[in-house]
């Protein structure tokens, strides 16, 4: 599983990114 780090201070945008990336089988982490 690929890992990805999200660096975004806007909560809504972080949630959207996390949702889409998780759907694509990424392991998402929030900075």
């Amino acid at each position: 599983m690929k890992k990805i780090l999200i660096v975004e201070d806007e909560a809504g945008i972080s949630m959207v990114l996390r949702a889409y990336l998780s759907k694509e089988q990424y392991e998402v982490k929030q900075a």
Binding site: E10, A11, G12, M15, L17, A19, Y20
Partner: protein, 257 residues
């Protein structure tokens, strides 16, 4: 030249024209001061002679007898230098006024060019404000200050616009992303509810920002009237602290006034 009794003491030329014999008829009037200037009747076809008398301090009179033609010629000869002198004075006056107005006009043109630069949005003016004329000096200083102030205001306006645009764009992007994720069925169940809650929070935040911006504009346009009135400072501080306490007690924060 006559003595007190009207007798000729000196004369030049030694042989005066025959018309001067008429002076004997004028003698009484000349000595009494009744006649000072008169003409002698012309002899043959010659022009008449003009006679002028002036008393002298030791008594007697000085007589000047001049042909009327010569008199007019002298007058005409004197007229041209007078005209030249008047013309020279007028020319000098015009030159002085021209030089003074030219200096002033140049300063005013400089101010006018600076005003055009400001209208065109160029606030970085290179104005020479070392002028001898106090009014021009003050005008240039005022122009410089005005351009610097406008430059600062323009810079602040640009920064404010950039900041406001960024702050408005961020929640809009968040709302669009959240709704799109819900529409694409990326999230379901509780997560979907959470997405809707965040979407609602962002919408409220956006609404508040727009309201704040409108209020700021009303304040900037001086459409908001400020009423000054005495108030109890303790009440104001207590009320503010009470509002601040709400929702923060759980975080372990305590405020004492």
């Amino acid at each position: 030249m006559w003595d007190r009794s009207g007798e000729i003491t000196h004369r030049f030329p030694p042989s005066p024209p025959e018309e001067t014999r008429q002076l004997a008829d004028w003698k009484d009037r000349i000595l009494s001061g009744e006649a000072r200037f008169f003409k002698l009747a012309p002899a043959e076809d010659r022009p008449p002679f003009a006679v002028a008398f002036h008393p002298i301090e030791d008594g007697g009179h000085v007589l000047l007898i001049v042909s009327e033609t010569n008199l007019l010629q002298s007058f005409a000869e004197f007229k041209y230098p007078l005209l030249i002198l008047a013309f020279a004075i007028a020319l000098t006056g015009w030159g002085v006024i021209y030089m003074l107005t030219r200096r002033l006009t140049r300063r005013i043109q400089e101010a006018s060019a600076a005003a055009k630069e400001i209208v065109a949005g160029n606030y970085r003016l290179e104005l020479n404000h070392e002028h001898k004329e106090m009014e021009i000096h003050e005008l240039m200083i005022a122009f410089k200050e005005m351009s610097e102030r406008l430059s600062r205001q323009e810079s602040l306006r640009t920064q404010l616009l950039a900041g406001v645009t960024h702050e408005l764009k961020t929640p809009v992007a968040s709302i669009i992303g959240l709704l799109q994720a819900i529409k694409d069925n990326i999230v379901t169940g509780e997560e979907r509810e959470r997405f809707l809650e965040v979407c609602l929070e962002d919408s409220r935040r956006l609404h508040k920002m727009v309201e704040d911006l409108l209020e700021f504009n009303r304040y900037a346009a001086q459409a908001v009237s400020v009423v000054k009135m005495p108030c109890d400072l303790q009440d104001v501080v207590s009320d503010t602290a009470a509002r601040w306490r709400q929702g923060r007690q759980d975080a372990g924060l305590r405020v004492s006034v």
